[in-house]
C-alpha cells in the first residue's frame, strides 16, 4: 500500500514538473534543457529553510519565488537565442547549477546532500503521513493544472503559440516577443520550483545527483511522449513513464541481474525518445488544431 502511495506521489510531483516544462516547450516552443535546475533550486531552497527551522509553507513559497527570480535572470540573458542554441545554452546553465550544488559545500553540503528534511505538519502538529501528503500533492497538481489550463487558453497562451509558429507574425500583431517569452519562462520556473520543493519534503533527502542531465531527459520524455502543447499530455506522459519505470522492477529476473535494471530502464527510455521522433513526433495526445481557442 505504501508502495502504491509512493508511486502516486512521485508521479504527481513529476507531472507538475512536466506540466511546467510543457508550458515552455509545448506552448512557446522554448526547448529548455536546463529545466531541472529550477526543480533543484526549489528543492534546495525549501529544504535548507526547513532544516534551518523556518516554517515549511514559507520555505515552499520562497522556493517558488527564488526559482522564478532566477528564471527571470536566465530568460533575460538567453532569450535572444532561438531553437537549438537556446537548448544548448539552457543545458549549460543546468549543468552549471548542478556544479554549484556540488561544490558550494558551505551551503549545500556538496555531494553528501541534505538529509532529514521535515515533512509538512498538520494543524495538530503531527507530521503528515503518506496518504495526507498524497492529498496535498493532488491538491497542488489540480491547482497547477487549472492555472496552466487557464493561462494556456487565455490570450497570453494563444499569443505564445503564435510566437512558436512564427515570430514575425506575432511581431506584426504587435506582440512583445521578449516579454511574452520572459513571462512564460518565469511561470514555468515558479512551477518547477514548487515541484522541486514538494519533492524535497517528500523524499526528506536531496543531493546534487537528483538534478542531473538524466532528470532533464526523463521529463523531456514525459512531455514529448504525452504530447507537447496539449494540456493533459504531460500528465499522461508522466503516468506512462513512471508505470514503465516501476513495472521493469517486477520483471522475473534473477537477483544478481539487479544492477542491470537501471541501465535497462535508461535504454528503454532512450529508445522511446528516438522512436517517438521517428514515428509520432506529436506524442500520444496530439495538440488540437483549429479547435476552440485557436
Amino acid at each position: 500500500m505504501d508502495y502504491l502511495l509512493h508511486i502516486a506521489i512521485s508521479t504527481l510531483i513529476y507531472a507538475i514538473f512536466a506540466m511546467s516544462l510543457n508550458l515552455e516547450l509545448g506552448y512557446a516552443g522554448l526547448y529548455n534543457f536546463g529545466h531541472i535546475a529550477f526543480f533543484g533550486i526549489g528543492a534546495y531552497t525549501s529544504a535548507l529553510m526547513a532544516v534551518g527551522g523556518l516554517p515549511i509553507p514559507l520555505g515552499i513559497t520562497s522556493a517558488m519565488a527564488l526559482a522564478g527570480l532566477i528564471g527571470a535572470g536566465l530568460a533575460f540573458t538567453v532569450l535572444r537565442l532561438t531553437g537549438d542554441y537556446f537548448g544548448i545554452a539552457t543545458l549549460a546553465f543546468g549543468e552549471m547549477m548542478r556544479l554549484l550544488f556540488l561544490n558550494e559545500r558551505w551551503l549545500t553540503k556538496g555531494p553528501m546532500g541534505i538529509p532529514g528534511i521535515p515533512r509538512p505538519t498538520l494543524l495538530g502538529g503531527m507530521p503528515a503521513d503518506l496518504l495526507q501528503y498524497l492529498m496535498f500533492t493532488v491538491a497542488c497538481t489540480i491547482l497547477v493544472f487549472l492555472i496552466l489550463h487557464r493561462l494556456e487558453t487565455s490570450p497570453f497562451g494563444r499569443a505564445l503559440k503564435v510566437v512558436r509558429e512564427d515570430e514575425f507574425v506575432a511581431q506584426a500583431f504587435g506582440k512583445n516577443l521578449l516579454s511574452l517569452k520572459m513571462r512564460c519562462i518565469v511561470v514555468g520556473s515558479v512551477i518547477a520550483g514548487l515541484a522541486g520543493a514538494l519533492w524535497a519534503h517528500y523524499m526528506t533527502y536531496i543531493s546534487p545527483n537528483d538534478f542531473t542531465l538524466q532528470g532533464t531527459i526523463i521529463v523531456l520524455l514525459c512531455v514529448v511522449l504525452g504530447g507537447k502543447g496539449s494540456p493533459s499530455g504531460p500528465l499522461l506522459g508522466t503516468c506512462v513513464v513512471v508505470l514503465l519505470q516501476e513495472s521493469l522492477r517486477f520483471l522475473p529476473i534473477p537477483t544478481d541481474f539487479g544492477r542491470h535494471v537501471a541501465p535497462l530502464q535508461g535504454m528503454v527510455f532512450g529508445l522511446m525518445l528516438v522512436l517517438l521522433m521517428l514515428r509520432r513526433p506529436q506524442g500520444l495526445i496530439a495538440e488540437l488544431h483549429g479547435g476552440r481557442g485557436a
Partner: protein, 289 residues
C-alpha cells in the same frame, strides 16, 4: 614553471577536445544539427577497445584499436542510416531530441554491458620525460602526436583531394552540391566515418591516460561543443583552436578556482559565446543563430 606545466597539460587535453570537436563540427556543417550522440561514439570507442583487450580475445591494445574504431564507425553509420537519414527533412529540434534519445540509449547500453564503475586498460605508460620541473608522460606525448597526425591528415584530405572538395561543397550548400552531381550519399558516409574515427581514437587515448566510465562521452561532448562554438559552428580549423583554448583555460583555472569547478569553464564558454559571438571568435560577418 607551475603555470607552464598547466599550459602543457592544457594543450594536450585540448588536442583531445579538438579531435572530438572536429567530428562534431563536421556533422553540424553538413547536416545542420547538433549531434548529441557524438559523445557516445567517444565512449564506445574506448569501451570496445576494452572489450577487445579483455579475456575472451585478449589482444594487445595496439591491435585492439583497429577493430574498436571499426565498431565505432559501424555504430556511427547505423545512427545515420536508422535515425538521422529518415529524419533529415524534419526540424532541427526533432533531430536534436532524437540524438539526445540515442545518446541516452547508447550510454545506458554501455553501462548495461560494462557496469558503471571506473575501469582502465592494463597498460603502463606512466613513464615520462622530464625537462627540469616540466614532466610530460609518454602517454601524453603519444596523445599529442596522434592528434597532430590525424589533424594533418584531415587538412590534406580537405585541401588536396576531390573528396575533400566535395565535402566542403556539401557543407556549403547541400542542394546545390547535389545538383552539381556530387554523390551526396558517399560524402555523407565519409563525414560519419571521419567523425566516428576521430571520436573513437580520441576516446581510446583519453581512456588510456585516465580511465573509462559511462559518463565520459557526455562530459567530453560538452567540452567539444564549447570548442565548436569558440571556433564557429561548421569551422573545422576553428574547432581545433577552440579545443586547445578550452583545454588550456580549464587547466589554468585549477590554479585559481577549486578543482570541482574545472568543468564550469566549458559551460561558461558555451553561454558566453552563444550570447556574444554566436558565429565564433573568427567570424567577421554577423553570425547565424
Amino acid at each position: 614553471m607551475y603555470y607552464l606545466q598547466l599550459v602543457i597539460n592544457g594543450i594536450i587535453a585540448g588536442s583531445m577536445y579538438a579531435l572530438f570537436a572536429v567530428g562534431l563540427t563536421m556533422v553540424y556543417g553538413v547536416f545542420r544539427f547538433i549531434n548529441f550522440a557524438h559523445g557516445e561514439l567517444i565512449a564506445l570507442g574506448a569501451y570496445s577497445a576494452l572489450f577487445f583487450t579483455s579475456p575472451p580475445l585478449s589482444l594487445p591494445l595496439i591491435w585492439a584499436t583497429a577493430p574498436a574504431v571499426a565498431c565505432t564507425v559501424c555504430v556511427g553509420l547505423l545512427q545515420d542510416r536508422l535515425v538521422f537519414q529518415p529524419l533529415c527533412h524534419g526540424t532541427r529540434m526533432t533531430l536534436l531530441i532524437a540524438s539526445i534519445g540515442l545518446s541516452y540509449l547508447l550510454r545506458n547500453a554501455i553501462q548495461f554491458g560494462f557496469g558503471s564503475d571506473l575501469l582502465s586498460y592494463n597498460v603502463d605508460l606512466a613513464a615520462g620525460y622530464e625537462w627540469g620541473p616540466i614532466i610530460v608522460t609518454r602517454m601524453q606525448l603519444s596523445m599529442l602526436i596522434t592528434a597532430v597526425v590525424f589533424l594533418t591528415f584531415l587538412y590534406w584530405l580537405f585541401t588536396r583531394t576531390m573528396l575533400g572538395k566535395a565535402l566542403r561543397a556539401v557543407a556549403d550548400n547541400m542542394e546545390l552540391a547535389g545538383i552539381m552531381g556530387i554523390p551526396l550519399g558517399r560524402v555523407n558516409r565519409t563525414v560519419w566515418i571521419l567523425a566516428a574515427t576521430f571520436a573513437a581514437v580520441g576516446g581510446i587515448l583519453l581512456a588510456m591516460d585516465t580511465s573509462l566510465e559511462p559518463m565520459m562521452g557526455v562530459i567530453n561532448l560538452l567540452k567539444a561543443f564549447a570548442a565548436v562554438l569558440l571556433g564557429g559552428p561548421g569551422n573545422v580549423w576553428g574547432a581545433l583552436i577552440g579545443g586547445i583554448a578550452i583545454g588550456v583555460a580549464e587547466n589554468l583555472s585549477v590554479a585559481v578556482l577549486s578543482p570541482g569547478y574545472k568543468d564550469f569553464i566549458a559551460f561558461a564558454v558555451i553561454l558566453v559565446m552563444l550570447l556574444f559571438r554566436p558565429g565564433g571568435i573568427f567570424s567577421f560577418q554577423k553570425g547565424m543563430r
